[in-house]
Symmetry: C3
Subunit: 362 residues, 3 copies
């Protein structure tokens, strides 16, 4: 993949942009065209920070799980040194997938094809019958990886965009909801037969929530434009401050503030009276998280960062939405449901009484 | 879509036409090539008249059904004013399908995505939270639509081909079989893994009928070239005249008479002795239609019009064949079985004893 | 299809070859690109000799079976004259498949579409209602076909590569194992979601055998590079000579010896002590074949020819591996298990106790 644009695509894009009406949805081709899709992946997903999961998925040294971005397969592994790394799941010998299962725990990763064996830091440790092969020169490829407030982010670019502002925002927001010590209570995957831009746009606007997600709209004050919501949103903000979630609302999503830094937006939003969290009936789902002193009616905090990572924080649970483009017309979605890391399934919470956000169809 | 042909395709088509042998089947590329398929849709299906169903499918104001042409989705609806219209099933807000079900009855069409609401004439009646949006400027797009002898025809072109000759032919033929007052007894859909031109050519010739459709060939004199059929066809024509079906046989299919008018062909054809209709055993299936005074041995009338609309009329039932191109290698087929509009299922006819034409595989 | 390469593909190939590192696996595009795949088929599979089965599959005049190469459908038939021929399974009238079943026995092949009827030598014998059509000018197309030691080979090229060297090798090797009088005990088909070159390369190297096929590696001395195998291989060669399998080991695979002749490689290889054949436990599976006087510990002989035909000969059974490219990312595989033609299923052998080679996953 390269930055250089094919001449054909360049002239096609130019013609499309000429035809694109202002303040209107993108033209169909931007969603359907296979070449534009590839360009999206190259220019957006391969250059930006992407959340791929939560550190509790690799809580112990030797834990790993797979996460594919577009068609690039990754292993997210915690090494013997305690570090979380993002390794390409591509054997250095013949390009086979090294890990075929979705997740595991081991002190070696053994390629099933010819048996080349790597450690959890990605170093080649043995290559049968290969004589004096330089093992050090054949580690699994590694991409940028960092853990912030428990969230694992990766970036394929040689020089990733600056992430300081995102770290700061996450600290002020999901950090106060205790996400660094959270755990994944449930993980669900969906496939949507649509372009990643359409799926993301859909997620970004809640104009569709009332007709499409009545169970969500029952308690969430979804439409900022409505006058009746102005007071509600003020109240929500005051409640947030009272609980220690003092946020400087910003909206540098999706493109950052222009100084080469990753895009991020954060805000508190209101829930209607009668609901203290995003459950179907508005009542608590799980023990309080972070420094929360009590349930309150009602607010939640959301963060958006990178091209495809979205977070919703409630006092007793959190939601991580990850959108993974596959083809021009297919996007996979992964949803993680976070709870207090000390809570116990079956005792403190039940995965069958899930969030109203999580179980909504897109 | 535009009339202008891509230079690549133009030169490829030219080369293909050079290689095309005379009086022989088209070269494989004409059936398999995805770009040629798109050109077919643009130049043929989007410019010509296409039958999409029968008026009895929308007998009451508020009735509607969906019909997609290639990948263009339509709603065929009868408005409060009694008119049948063809509306694009594409919400003016974000392009979602307005009607997701196959058919229905209602006085409003509500887009499931954001709730925009249209009436059955296609006018936008409400758009939640959209302030002073000009509703009149956001009606569903409408394409040409007309009902002739009960058959609903649509055309996507701004200026459709002249349809007078087709109307005249339909009046002389299926009009005499009472199709204006018929109803749909049965509707079946098939998917054929072949190009629409191959499927249409196959329908057009009955050389394959004997080996492939023995139950049909038992009573239909399928091969005009055979001498034994000359007298039969003369007898059939006399019988038709006696029943009031006086047809001027023409064959301006598929391209019309050259004066910018839609193509049409019509003829009477013979059935062998012992059969009065196109049933499996030649005996009546349903009450007589139109002005028919009695069953007779034996004739039927066929009409072909536009690129993809074919009709077979028997004294007691009619068949509407619609071919709908989907991709270069896939064509959907819809078959409607018409009977006298006053007849009653289970009393006068049974859908299990269907026509020998309708149940034949292609 | 033509030898002339599209200018686009030519420049793309050139750029790829510039990027291709030496002594390393091919770049991904060589396996994934649809245009390169088509070029492979044109330049390799349509020009070279391909094994399509064994003569015992058409033991009697009138026997036939289908075998598709890429997307070219063939009928392999034994005519009334006893000859085995390869006919294109494409009716000369409208291009329909003449034979729809996988195999059969008949003295005529009747196209199901319009009933055109061919004999087993491919001559058109009748074409209903076609007047004075010149039947002789409408035989099914025929491609080169020859039977060597019971193996049926075909070639689509007008002028096939010279096959003398391959015939000689087959005579020295599988000929001594009695393959000319063998029969097919079992036939299995697999689909592999990978490019034919990857599948073939995989078959060619046995570095993967130990991790991937432990049941095979238990008795086969798979890795030539290991010193411990040198003596074993010498012993195997001596054993082979003692049994009359005196082979001049050559490796002109895949490209032949440069003089326009088909590629071929042949060698004896060793099995570990305790195994006399390639069964799961090393013990005999079926009666001895050819001139073998006794079971012995242990050797087997392999032959590789053309782009996609591979043979393994054991004293009591043989394996024919055929790789059939379908798309850039799909290859079908057919495996024939040969036994002594005089042996009897259920008495002398059982198809449930199959070879360790045959039942291994790729």
């Amino acid at each position: 993949m390269s930055d250089k644009i094919e001449p054909d695509l360049a002239s096609r894009l130019e013609a499309l942009l000429d035809r694109q009406p202002a303040a209107s949805a993108l033209l169909q081709e931007f969603y359907n065209d296979a070449q534009i899709f590839e360009r999206d992946i190259e220019q957006v997903h391969m250059k930006r920070w992407l959340c791929v999961g939560h550190a509790s998925q690799v809580s112990d040294a030797g834990d790993w799980f797979r996460f594919d971005v577009a068609s690039e397969p990754l292993i997210i592994a915690r090494g013997a040194d305690g570090e979380v790394r993002a390794l390409l799941n591509v054997c250095r010998h013949r390009g086979s997938l090294v890990c075929a299962e979705d997740a595991g725990h081991s002190n070696r990763l053994i390629c099933p094809y010819h048996g080349w064996t790597y450690d959890l830091e990605g170093r080649l440790r043995s290559a049968r019958n290969m004589g004096d092969l330089n093992l050090d020169a054949h580690s699994l490829a590694r991409i940028h990886c960092r853990v912030v407030e428990g969230l694992i982010f990766v970036c394929f670019a040689d020089e990733p965009p600056a992430f300081d502002r995102v770290e700061e925002v996450l600290g002020q927001s999901v950090g106060r909801f205790g996400w660094a010590n959270a755990k994944v209570a449930h993980r669900a995957s969906y496939t949507v037969a649509a372009n990643w831009k359409l799926v993301t746009e859909n997620y970004q606007e809640c104009y569709h929530c009332r007709p499409a997600h009545p169970e969500f709209s029952r308690f969430h004050a979804t439409e900022k434009s409505e006058e009746s919501n102005v007071d509600l949103r003020k109240r929500a903000s005051d409640l947030a401050v009272a609980q220690g979630v003092e946020i400087e609302e910003i909206d540098h999503w999706p493109f950052g503030d222009g100084a080469g830094s990753e895009g991020v937006a954060v805000a508190n939003d209101a829930m209607y009276e009668g609901s203290v969290t995003g459950s179907r009936d508005g009542s608590p789902l799980a023990p309080l998280m972070g420094d929360f002193k009590d349930y309150c009616e009602g607010f939640f905090t959301y963060v958006e960062t990178g091209p495809a990572s979205f977070f919703l924080a409630y006092p007793d649970h959190g939601l991580v939405y990850l959108f993974i483009p596959r083809t021009a017309q297919r996007t996979d979605m992964e949803v993680l449901w976070l709870v207090n890391g000390k809570s116990q399934e079956g005792v403190d919470y039940s995965v069958t009484s899930r969030s109203s956000s999580e179980t909504s169809e897109v």
